[in-house]
Symmetry: C2
Subunit: 148 residues, 2 copies
């Protein structure tokens, strides 16, 4: 069972890479896997690098950056600059959602709102632009979470 699941994911990754015209290599498959399995699926290059090392996969940090940049170009991942310092990456499912970041805990949630997207297109038009993409980042304080 576990095996089957694992193979499936690997096949999926293989297809993604082929489609992007990239060779199917171990580092790339592993990076894809890490991105898929990560829970708060926003990882920095460093995060991914550490994960690789922790699992005895000797991949250079430079390779992680190179692969992520290629993935970005291929539309496989999206790069964000939430905090300011490090860039974070997440798989791009094509749904182009937006984010809200808790200023205390760093927790990141996602959302997608058609109403807003429609209005943004209108605004762009009014200003004389054709909208091709957008980024919304909300900053707030997450409450509840049973304190913490």
């Amino acid at each position: 069972m576990v095996e089957v699941t694992h193979l499936k994911r690997e096949e999926q990754g293989t297809r993604d890479l082929r489609r992007a015209g990239l060779k199917v290599t171990l580092p790339r498959l592993r990076i894809l896997e890490i991105l898929e399995e990560s829970d708060p699926h926003h990882l920095s290059a460093e995060d991914i690098y550490k994960d690789l090392l922790a699992n005895d996969h000797d991949v250079g940090l430079a390779t992680v950056y190179r692969v992520l940049t290629q993935f970005e170009g291929a539309g496989i991942v999206t790069r964000h600059h939430f905090a300011g310092g490090q860039a974070v990456f997440e798989l791009d499912n094509g749904d182009n959602h937006d984010h809200i970041v808790c200023m205390k805990s760093g927790k990141v949630s996602e959302f997608k709102d058609p109403q807003i997207e429609e209005r943004l297109i209108e605004i762009a038009e009014e200003l004389g632009y054709s909208l091709t993409d957008h980024r919304i980042v909300l900053y707030g304080v997450y409450r509840d979470e049973s304190d913490s």
Copy 2:
């Protein structure tokens, strides 16, 4: 007339600095002035630095960064990361507007939309956050502009 205007601005800047608990120094006044006079008022530290040098004001780039960071902390300017590489700064009038960037020319326009801001507050609430701030950057292509 010009003199009067100039003095007025300087006094204004002086007040801004005092309010922020910062000493009123020439570099700081000049940087404020540059930010006020700039047309596409989104300048990188480097832009400001070059402007200073071009006007025979020998201010170090480090000082420009330091001053801008202090201004940011004091709420005098806002820092943005549009492109990815350099940060750009603009005076913060407290209106907290958003931006749209032309992917071809780099032209930046601003807008403010109450409808969107209202909706964003709702969205944050729905997700369990109290919204404190937001950033919206639209990417598009500016048309008209008589070609270029």
